[in-house]
């Protein structure tokens, strides 16, 4: 049955090179790919697997600093590697379209959505402007965007992320292409928004029988979208099969390890009994940015050696709460207590010892570490500042810290952050926090920029450090799988308020607060029927944004 459908895209022995350190290095090593009309193929792998590069190569396009070195890309009988650029360009947007990861960054901020939508059809005389605008509005309606006749006349900054991602899918549909490349289209979205976008994409691709390459690192997402899955690792294919057999019975070790990533789970600890004082108490805190109130009556406690996960969507006030605790944003009401003692609201009024005890680890290790400063200095500075260490004592402390984060001191002492991988940089971030010898660490989305295997390593490290040093963690995340693996207690936030809190096991067993329930049930599961089931349960009009009100 599958093989009888005609082939739309045939990639043979594709090799792609990237330019770095003044020479061309092969980054995709001979990939084969066959896609039939109307088929959706999932490309899955970690960063550096070559997913996006292969996706773009399917359009005969290579990013600046990349080139297709050899192999063939045949689209509907046309060999893209040898056709002139002008002919390839005419295919892009009209017959092969692309949906990028961050719609917010990929829409031009200077033009209205609908003008960007009509650009390709008008440029290639496929549709008249008026006609294309009408069509855009119809697509907006099909993709369940609010005010479909009006929303296109807004600028990108006036539209929310989930809506932009759907508008971008509509834009990809503008010329009714034969093939759409979806490059991680929901990675930047909250789960409750993601589900809505996934459904919209799946429906419209089915409706127009469009073939698609769906690129993602999230297995549960690809399980909902793809007919077949191809697993990639460092520019090589690991294996390929249809979605159900891939999920039920992965063949290769690497695939199995990807499947098993989310299995790390440590035992839940319970609060100390008796009159133990929490390390950190947030008491009835209100906070505001100027006249805009962002936190309202937030209270929770964190005890020594325990992890409290603060979950919620973007804008729910998770990071603002952290800013209140660290004193970067003094609360307008309420108090922050440390070991039962009230802290000055403003960090400038806190003593060195008070500052030392609470440290932070950030989401983007890339931007949180100064690229021009040696690792030894990044870690050494807080050790010298808070611990007053100098000379040999400082050096042995830095060595000890590097040992703690499982990086060999002699190899990393004299290196700069840009020479390190993402996971290693995050470890340096952890060491810098530990250098102050804190009792409490705020981890702000520390794993969300990392690949799953690397993220798991970081979680295990944090868990080990917690046991050894009896640290209290506040774990800010929107990823419920992370919560499941590392949290002892969970605080659920929505629009600046705590909607529910308690021990993890209670939080993950019904009955839930309706919002917690919405969050939990919006997390994609590895079951290919999950999306269909959720839609049946909730109804098409009652998912995503609509479900929240």
């Amino acid at each position: 049955m599958e093989s009888k459908r005609d082939v739309l895209l045939e990639i043979r022995d594709l090799k792609i090179e990237g330019y770095s350190d003044e020479k061309w290095i092969e980054i995709v090593h001979g990939i084969d790919l066959t896609l039939h009309r109307g088929e959706v193929m999932g490309l899955i792998g970690e960063s550096g697997a070559g997913k996006s590069t292969i996706g773009l190569a399917a359009m005969g396009y290579a990013r600046d600093g990349c080139r297709i070195a050899s192999g063939s890309v045949e689209f509907d009988g046309m060999e893209l590697t040898t056709t002139p650029e002008s002919d390839r360009r005419a295919l892009r947007g009209s017959r092969i379209a692309y949906v990028a990861q961050s719609a917010a960054a990929s829409f031009n901020p200077a033009h209205r959505l609908i003008d960007q939508h009509t650009e390709t059809p008008v440029h290639y005389n496929i549709r008249k402007r008026q006609d294309s605008q009408e069509d855009a509005m119809e697509l907006y309606e099909k993709l369940r965007l609010p005010n479909p006749r009006e929303i296109g006349f807004r600028y990108p900054h006036q539209v929310s992320g989930g809506q932009l991602q759907r508008a971008m899918t509509a834009m990809a549909m503008a010329c009714r292409p034969d093939l759409i490349i979806f490059d991680e289209p929901t990675t930047a979205l909250d789960v409750t928004t993601q589900i809505e976008v996934l459904l919209a994409i799946r429906d419209i691709v089915e409706q127009y029988n469009t073939a698609a390459i769906y690129i993602t690192h999230d297995l549960a997402v690809v399980a909902q979208m793809a007919d077949t899955i191809k697993v990639l690792l460092k520019g090589d294919e690991v294996e390929q099969s249809d979605t159900r057999s891939m999920l039920d019975n992965p063949q290769e070790e690497y695939t199995k390890s990807l499947w098993a990533v989310r299995s790390f789970q440590r035992d839940q600890k319970t609060r100390p009994t008796g009159d133990a004082v929490p390390v950190v108490s947030v008491e009835n805190v209100d906070a505001a940015y100027g006249p805009v109130k962002v936190l309202e009556d937030v209270s929770f406690d964190i005890y020594a050696g325990m992890t409290v996960a603060v979950v919620g969507e973007s804008g729910s006030g998770k990071s603002t709460t952290a800013r209140c605790i660290t004193g970067l944003l003094p609360p307008t009401k309420g108090r922050i207590l440390f070991n039962g003692e009230e802290l000055p609201a403003d960090y400038r009024k806190r003593s060195k010892d008070q500052l030392r005890q609470a440290q932070m680890i950030y989401q983007m290790a890339d931007t949180a570490l100064n690229p021009k400063v040696l690792i030894s200095e990044i870690i050494g500075r807080p050790a010298a500042f808070y611990g007053g260490l100098k000379g040999g004592a400082l050096k042995s402390r830095v060595d000890e810290l590097l040992d703690l984060i499982e990086l060999e001191p002699s190899k990393y002492y004299n290196r700069y952050p840009p020479e390190l991988s993402g996971g290693q940089k995050q470890r340096i971030g952890i060491a810098r926090a530990l250098a102050a010898d804190p009792t409490f660490i705020i981890c702000d989305e520390v794993t969300s920029a990392l690949d799953q295997l690397v993220a798991e390593g970081i979680l295990k490290l944090l868990d080990r450090l917690q046991k050894e040093l009896n640290l209290a963690y506040m774990f800010i995340t929107h990823d419920l799988a992370t919560v499941r693996s590392i949290a002892d207690e969970v605080v659920v936030m929505k629009q600046g308020q705590v909607v529910e809190q308690g021990p993890k096991k209670e939080m993950f067993t019904p009955p839930h607060h309706p919002y917690t329930d919405l969050l939990l049930s919006s997390v994609p599961e590895m079951d290919p029927d999950w999306l269909t089931t959720v839609v049946e349960e909730r109804g098409v009009d009652n998912i995503g944004e609509a479900a929240k009100t």
Binding site: R63, D64, A105, N108, H111, T120
Partner: protein, 318 residues
């Protein structure tokens, strides 16, 4: 749009405050010059009585703050006092000269700005090609040469050797507009050569810095040709820095043209200022400085407003 008006009013207020501070600095600087003004005006041979009489007449015996506010009160309504040298109204002396300078600056700007932006777009499109490099070298050469040197070279080749344009830009009242354009072409061209490179390079840099943006990649994978990617997708987002550098150069065209005016004997405000400085005609010096400061402030304000108007994020609220 109410926000834009608000921002403009705020900037305008700040501009006025800046101008006030500058007026204090100008007045203070002139105050601190060594020597006695009356003595300087009357020369070495003046008698004690004459000097004292002139001091009295000029009000130099009043304390500095009183004289400052007298001067400021006049300046606000356009009365900059009386020239020490010619004993005529400073405003009347400056007005025609300033108009001449504005004319020459406008002439140069009308040629330079479109050329610079167009060239900037073209070299961004053809970046790292031979054309890009040649354009870079040529404009860098012109910006690195002193204005008087450029002026004399132009006179040598376009006037002395070929006779295509007049070498001296003396104006008279009975000239037609075309004659005026012909007469002032060489000084205008000199100034064009001086400012084009800066604006062109900024346009190029502003556009190229955006080429790594995801929305540029999007435009490319939507099948847009290279020129459309630059003109329609990069340029609209590059206006803010371009407008700023244009404003800076316009201000330079008005305030930095002393040498060009001298070379071409053009009766502009720069020459007037130089004359006034040599003759210690302080009311004229003060008035010129204040006008230059106001020019800078107004053009920067215009650049800010331009940057706001080209940015939809500032123009339309969420």
């Amino acid at each position: 749009m109410g926000d834009v008006v608000n921002i403009v009013l705020k900037r305008l207020g700040l501009g006025l405050l800046t101008l006030f501070v500058i007026s204090v600095i100008i007045f203070g600087a002139v105050e601190m010059l060594p020597g006695d003004i009356a003595q300087a005006v009357l020369g070495q041979g003046a008698t004690e009585e004459n000097v004292a009489a002139l001091r009295e007449q000029l009000g130099l015996n009043d304390p500095a703050p009183v004289r400052y506010f007298d001067w400021l009160a006049g300046a606000v309504v356009g009365d900059f006092g009386v020239s020490l040298v010619s004993q005529t109204s400073v405003s009347e002396a400056i007005a025609p000269r300033f108009l001449n300078t504005l004319f020459l600056a406008g002439y140069a700007a009308v040629i330079a700005v479109p050329i610079a932006i167009l060239l900037g777009i073209v070299v961004a499109l053809l970046r790292n090609t031979l054309f890009d490099r040649v354009a870079n070298v040529l404009t860098l050469t012109s910006i690195s040469s002193p204005e008087f040197f450029l002026g004399y070279i132009l006179i040598l080749y376009l006037s002395v050797k070929t006779g295509a344009f007049p070498a001296i830009a003396k104006l008279s009242t009975d000239m037609t507009f075309l004659e005026l354009l012909d007469r002032t072409f060489l000084p205008a061209l000199t100034m064009v050569l001086v400012v084009v490179a800066h604006m062109m390079r900024m346009t190029r840099a502003a556009i190229i810095s955006l080429l790594a943006s995801p929305y540029i990649e999007m435009a490319r994978v939507k099948g847009m040709p290279a020129w459309k990617v630059i003109v329609k997708h990069a340029l609209p987002n590059a206006w803010a820095p371009i407008i700023n550098v244009v404003a800076l150069n316009l201000a330079y065209l008005i305030t930095g043209v002393v040498l060009v005016e001298v070379v071409f004997v053009y009766p502009g405000i720069g020459q007037l200022l130089v004359d006034a400085v040599t003759k210690r005609d302080f009311p004229v010096v003060q008035a010129c400085c204040l006008i230059f400061a106001a020019t800078f402030i107004l053009l920067n304000l215009a650049a800010d407003v331009g940057a706001i108007l080209t940015n939809p994020r500032l123009r339309y609220k969420k």
